[in-house]
Amino acid sequence: MATMSTRLATVTLPNPVLTASGCAAAGRELHQFFDVSQLGAVVTKSIMPRARSGRATPRMAETPSGMLNSIGLQGPGIESFIANDLAWLAEQGARAVVSIAGTHTDDYVLLARKLAGHPAVAMLEVNISCPNVESRGQVFACDAIASSRVIGAVRRAADPAQPVFAKLSPDVTDIVHIARACADAGADGFSLINTLLGIVIDTDTLAPALGGVSGGLSGPAIRPVAVRCVWQVHQAFPHLPILGMGGIRTGLDALQFILAGASAVSVGTAVFGDPSAPVRVLAELEAALDERGLASVRDAVGLAQRNQRARVSA
């Protein structure tokens, strides 16, 4: 049996399968289908300083092998999140990767400070795919300087024992350029990838299908884009761990991300169609490693890149 434990910077997880931000709430609803403490960690829905209503409906459109969503980060705000959601995760003995989001750098700093020292918080995932109010609404993750500023500020404010992962958007010309800015600012690793922006037009109403007009595309449709991003960032920063996500539905999908360079994976949109997907993916991944004679997750991380180099030099 392959050794499933994995490391994300200074944190060791019992296995490399996590939920994905925004696809598991804070784990409570999924707990009726499986014990959430069995996962590597629960990645919670992006939390912001204050309660947010989210956007008007419709918020979702199904697309080929995917879906477009425009939720608008509906959430209870950090105080309620800590008192209710994080407390519940701690009771279950689950590890939490807390996704934080803001519209100002100060929002992120406040959130990182509030989460410092909390025993259930394994690490922070910084969702920088938000409009930066200080920069006319440009998305942080599409601007190297803004990304660097947020990640640097979070790294300085956060608990030193909590790794800070920058979650990057694939909607950029050169993701390695943004990753470098985050790495230079002190990011301990990367979460790759956030959704891709898309629009669906409803041909009955002759108007955009979503209330928010554009939305984030997720699901198996984006998987090759995500694996490419993991590949590029791992190639550029082989020493920085990657949490990979984007359309993972099976253990073999998860294995693709690990072979490309991810040290762990998040199962996201698949949960909507199959609430027990995370534990199924974990079992399938373990079997896939065994079938291939891979002794551990660690042995498999980036293996496809090493194999490719060997193939080229041979």
Partner: protein
């Protein structure tokens, strides 16, 4: 109520007008069933490009102490997912999650109720009528649809209760018109104390208004589109007023699908009213 995910064998598929009623073997869901519960069904098979479940109100259940433990739901072929479903036959397996949602609240004692179904929205009202009749209540039905073929449950309703009023938009069955045309009379003649309804959003809003004018409550089950049905995706939200006066976007799947019509801000569905909790935090986003 804890939901389960299971592979349910299709026992039978029965054509009812333009609809198909599925009976599937799902003892864990059948045993916990209460009227108003729904199930979420995966479509297209394991390699499907349709990755989201389709939600269906349960139209009945037979607990496992009496038979295999089956539940029933009604499918209308609207799009590719439901088209796939209506192609299934007895003996095949469906991946089903349920029971989901909150059931219709029912009084412990007898009451007088009017049950209003639009199209196959009558599906969850049939088992509800049985629960109400069992506790000694007087029940009457108002069933409406665009055409006669889109009515569901007329016969079953007539077997259960004495009074069933049918309306169709085109007059192909019952009275020509809308359920809301005949509802005031039904409430008045039965001295109804409560209205239960399931159907399209516009119908539920109108039913709620009529109940309000008669100073009685309407408990309505919404048919909002959902991605997950279990409360994690946040796509199926509606603006709903709580007892403390605060309005929030709440999830139709886990906070509904049954709501007191009085608390739903129907006119704000599809909008972001400024007084909603957390709307002030949406600036610039």
């Amino acid at each position: 109520m804890t939901a389960v995910q299971l592979q349910a064998e299709i026992l039978s598929v029965q054509r009812v007008g333009e609809y198909l009623q599925f009976t599937v073997v799902a003892p864990e869901i059948a045993d916990g069933f209460q009227p108003g519960h729904f199930v979420a069904v995966a479509v297209g098979g394991a390699q499907s490009s349709m990755i989201l479940r389709r939600a269906f109100a349960l139209s009945g259940a037979t607990p496992s102490d009496r038979f295999a433990g089956t539940v029933q739901f009604v499918v209308a072929a609207h799009g590719p997912g439901t088209q796939w479903l209506v192609g299934r036959t007895a003996g095949e397996l469906l991946d089903i999650v349920g029971p989901l949602g909150n059931p219709f609240p029912t009084p412990s004692g007898a009451t007088r109720a009017v049950l209003v179904g639009g199209g196959y929205g009558s599906a969850p009202l049939l088992p509800l009528a049985q629960v109400l009749l069992d506790n000694g209540s007087e029940v009457e039905f108002v069933l409406g649809a665009a055409t006669a073929a889109r009515l569901f449950g007329e016969l079953a309703a007539k077997r259960m209760v004495g009074r069933v009023t049918v309306t169709t938009d085109d007059g192909s069955a019952g009275e020509k018109g809308l359920v809301t045309d005949v509802l005031p009379e039904a409430i008045e003649r039965s001295s109804a104390e409560i209205v239960y309804a399931c159907g399209p959003m516009a119908m539920l809003q109108a039913v709620g208004d009529i109940a309000g004018k008669h100073a009685i409550r309407a408990q309505v089950a919404v048919e909002e589109s959902m991605a997950c049905g279990i409360g994690v995706c946040m796509t199926c939200v509606l603006p709903v007023r709580a007892a403390d006066g605060t309005s929030r976007f709440v999830r139709s799947c886990v906070d509904g699908p049954v709501f007191d019509a009085l608390n739903v801000r129907w006119r704000d569905v599809g909008r972001l009213p400024g007084d909603l909790l957390g709307a002030d935090a949406m600036g610039g986003h």
